[in-house]
Amino acid sequence: MNTDSNLPEKSAPEVDFPIERVEAEHVSRREFTKFLCFVSGGMAVGSGWVAAKDRLFPPHRIEGEAFVCNVSDVPVGGTHPFTVAGSKTQFMLIHLNDGSWRAYEQKCTHLSCAVFYQPQTDKIQCPCHNGWFDARTGTVLQGPPPRPLPRLDVVIKGEDIYVTEPKSA
C-alpha cells in the first residue's frame, strides 16, 4: 500500500531527532490523534476522581463539639482564627456587632483567598476579586464567589465557645 513512497531511508536516530527545525516541530496527524486519545483518557480519569473523591477521602467532619476559645478573648466586632484537630482548614470565629457569634471557613469559595470581617459594614470581604459575603448567613452578596461560605454552628457554654457541624437544613 505504501510501496510508491519516495521518502529516503533514514536511520532510527535521524528519525527520532531530526536536524531541520521544520521536521523537529512537525506533529504528524498520527501523533496528534494519539495525543487526543491520551487527553480523553485524562478526562475520564478526572471524572472518576470527581466521582470517587468523596468516597475515598471523605471531608473531615467534627465529632461532637470542638473548643475554640473563651468569650473574653474576642471583643465585639473582632475575629479569632482557629483550626480543628484532624484537619488543616482555617476557620474564623466572628463576634458580630449585635453580640451574636458566627464561625465560617476562611477560604473564599472563588479562588481560596483568605476573607476577613469588616465590622464597619458588618459584612465579610474577599479582597482578591472584591467578593462580599453576608456576615449573618455566609451567602454571597456580590462578586465572583459561586457558593456561600461553609459555616459551623457556635455553641456557648458559660465562658467557653465551642463549634460543631451544622445541622443540615
Binding site: 500500500m1 505504501n2 513512497s5 521518502l7 533514514k10 536511520s11 532510527a12 536516530p13 528519525v15 527520532d16 496527524r29 498520527r30 496528534f32 490523534t33 494519539k34 487526543l36 486519545c37 487527553v39 480523553s40 483518557g41 478526562m43 475520564a44 478526572g46 471524572s47 472518576g48 470527581v50 466521582a51 470517587a52 468523596d54 475515598l56 477521602f57 484532624g86 459561586p146 457558593r147
Partner: protein, 504 residues
C-alpha cells in the same frame, strides 16, 4: 489483472487521508463532550448535588473507550517498524505446554516450602520455644539468603544434566528441609543452632525457581518465552497458598500420636505440621515431573560456556532491574503485615487486620507476572519494563503522603498499584534475558534471579531501620522510589531506546 487492493487505491487515492481526518474529528468531538461532562460534574458536586457525578464518569469512560477503539482504524505509518519479531521453530508445542503446567505447580510447591520459615517463627513462642526478636528475625532471613545464592548452580544444572532429571531431583530434595524442620520444631528443647540450620537448609527451596525457569527456557521458542516464563511465574502463588494454609494446619494434628506439644493443655498447636504437610505433595510432584516430562533433545551445554554469562554486561544490568522489581514484590509480601500493624495501629475504627490485607499484595504481583510477559511479547519488553518501573517510582513517592493513621485506604491502593507494576516488570524483565543472552540463558537466569532475590532481603532491613531510627517508613519508600528512577534510566538506555543495539 489488478488485485483488489490496487483497485481500491486507484479508486480513492486519498482514502487514508480521509480516514485519518475522520478519526481526528470524531476524537475532537469526544474530548469536547468529556470536558463538558467533567466541568458539569465538578460544578454540581461542589454545590452539593451529587446525582450527576457517577453517570458523568461512566459516560466519560464509555466515550474514552470508543475513542481508543477508533485508533484501531488508524492507517499504517509509512516507515517500517524498527523492531523485528524473532520467530523460531516450535516443534514440541503440546509437550512444552504440559511441562509448563507441571513446572508451575512444582514451583508453587517450592515457594510454599521456602515460605514456611516466614510463618513458623511467629508461632514458636506458642510452641514452647524462647527466643529473642533478633533470633527470630534471622530465622526468617536465612532461607532468603541461601535461596538467592543457590540459584546460580541450580540454573546451571538444567543445561548440563537435562531438564527432567535436574528438576525431578531438586523437587525430591525438598523432602530434606521439610523432614528436618518438622522434627526440629516438634521438641521445644531443640537448640537454636539446629533451627537455624534447618532454616538454612530450607533455602534450597528458593533455588528451585532457577531450575524451573531454566526448564521453560529450554522448551519454548523466543517469541513465546515472555508468556511462558510469565505463566511459570504463577508459581509465586505458592507464597499466597502457604500464607493461608499454614495458620490453618498448625491448629490441628496431622500425625495423630506422634504430633503435638503437650505443654499447654487448653489448646495445643502442632507447629510441625507447617513442615510435614508438604511431604505428600513433594512426592506427587517429583513423580509427575519424572513421568510427565522428557529431557530436552538439544545438545547439553558445557559448564564453562554457561559461566561466561557472568562476564556479560547485560547479566548485571538485568540483575539490577530485577533487584528492584522482584525485591519490591518480596519486600511488600514480607514486611507489609508489620508496616500495617505499626503505622496504622491508631486508625479510627481500629487497626486493619494485617493478615487480611497483606496476602493480596503478593497475590496481585504474582497475577500480573504472566500479563507482563504476554504484553512484552506483544509490545516489546523495553516499553513494558519502562511502564512498570515508572509506575513503581511514582507510587513510591506518593506513598509517603498516605502514612497518616486514617489514610489506610489510599495507602493500600497505592501498595496494590506498586505490587501490580512490580509483577508486570518481573514478567517483562524475564522476557529480555533470553533475547539478549541467548547462548547462556540458563546461567543468566540463575544469576539474575539470585541477585533479584537478594533484593528481597534489603527492603525489610531498610524499613526496619527507618522505623527504628526515623520514626516511620516514609524515607524507606522515598529511597525505593529514587532507586526506581535510576532503574528507569538504565532500562530506557539499554532496552527501550530504539537506537540501542539491544532494543527489545
Amino acid at each position: 489483472m489488478s488485485n483488489f487492493r490496487e483497485a481500491q487505491r486507484q479508486a480513492h487515492p486519498t482514502k487514508t487521508n480521509t480516514l485519518l481526518l475522520g478519526i481526528m474529528c470524531v476524537l475532537i468531538l469526544i474530548v469536547i463532550m468529556q470536558i463538558w461532562l467533567l466541568t458539569a460534574a465538578l460544578n454540581e458536586s461542589l454545590d452539593g448535588h451529587n446525582a450527576v457525578k457517577w453517570p458523568a464518569f461512566w459516560v466519560s469512560l464509555l466515550l474514552f473507550g470508543s475513542g481508543a477503539a477508533l485508533l484501531r482504524y488508524l492507517p499504517a505509518p509509512i516507515r517500517l517498524p524498527a523492531r523485528e519479531v524473532v520467530r523460531e521453530a516450535f516443534p514440541h508445542a503440546a509437550l512444552a505446554w504440559r511441562t509448563l503446567g507441571i513446572s508451575a505447580v512444582s514451583l508453587a510447591l517450592a515457594f510454599a516450602v521456602w515460605f514456611m520459615w516466614s510463618a513458623i517463627p511467629l508461632r514458636l513462642k506458642d510452641a514452647g520455644f524462647v527466643f529473642t526478636r533478633q533470633q527470630l528475625f534471622w530465622l526468617t532471613a536465612t532461607p532468603v539468603l541461601l535461596g538467592s545464592f543457590l540459584r546460580i548452580p541450580y540454573g546451571l544444572i538444567v543445561s548440563t544434566f537435562g531438564s527432567r532429571r535436574s528438576y525431578a531431583f531438586v523437587t525430591l530434595l525438598l523432602l530434606l528441609p521439610c523432614i528436618a524442620t518438622g522434627f526440629a520444631v516438634k521438641n521445644p528443647t531443640t537448640p537454636y543452632w539446629v533451627l537455624l540450620a534447618c532454616a538454612a537448609l530450607t533455602g534450597i527451596a528458593g533455588a528451585n525457581f532457577a531450575t524451573s525457569m531454566g526448564v521453560i527456557n529450554l522448551w519454548f521458542p523466543k517469541q513465546a518465552q515472555g508468556t511462558a516464563l510469565g505463566i511459570n511465574g504463577l508459581g509465586n502463588f505458592g507464597v499466597t497458598i502457604a500464607q493461608f494454609t499454614i495458620p490453618l494446619v498448625i491448629g490441628f494434628s496431622l500425625l495423630g500420636a506422634s504430633g503435638g506439644t503437650s505443654s499447654k493443655p487448653a489448646r495445643s498447636i502442632h507447629i510441625e505440621n507447617a513442615a510435614f504437610i508438604w511431604i505428600p505433595f513433594i512426592l506427587t510432584c517429583s513423580a509427575a515431573i519424572w513421568f510427565g516430562t522428557k529431557d530436552n533433545t538439544a545438545p547439553p551445554k558445557t559448564l564453562a560456556s554457561q559461566l561466561v554469562a557472568g562476564k556479560r554486561l547485560h547479566t548485571w544490568v538485568l540483575s539490577f532491574l530485577y533487584f528492584l522489581t522482584f525485591g519490591c514484590f518480596v519486600a511488600m509480601g514480607a514486611s507489609l503485615p508489620l508496616i500495617i500493624k505499626e503505622v496504622f495501629a491508631l486508625a479510627p475504627g481500629g487497626a486493619p487486620k494485617p493478615l487480611l490485607f497483606a496476602p493480596w499484595a503478593a497475590a496481585i504481583a504474582t497475577v500480573m507476572r504472566p500479563v507482563g510477559g504476554w504484553l512484552a511479547d506483544k509490545f516489546g519488553a523495553g516499553l513494558i519494563t519502562s511502564i512498570s518501573i515508572g509506575t513503581m517510582a511514582v507510587g513510591g513517592f506518593s506513598l509517603t503522603g498516605f502514612l497518616q493513621p486514617d489514610q489506610f485506604t489510599g495507602f493500600f491502593i497505592v501498595i496494590l498499584v506498586i505490587c501490580a507494576a512490580a509483577g508486570l516488570g518481573n514478567g517483562s524483565v524475564f522476557k529480555i534475558i533470553p533475547l539478549v543472552l541467548s547462548k547462556e540463558a540458563g546461567a543468566a537466569i540463575g544469576i539474575v534471579s539470585c541477585l533479584g532475590a537478594l533484593g528481597g532481603f534489603v527492603p525489610p532491613l531498610l524499613l526496619g531501620w527507618t522505623m527504628d531510627h526515623l520514626g516511620g517508613p516514609a524515607w524507606a519508600y522515598t529511597g525505593m522510589a529514587l532507586f526506581a528512577l535510576v532503574c528507569l534510566f538504565v532500562n530506557i538506555w539499554f532496552y527501550h531506546r530504539r537506537s540501542s543495539p539491544t532494543h527489545c
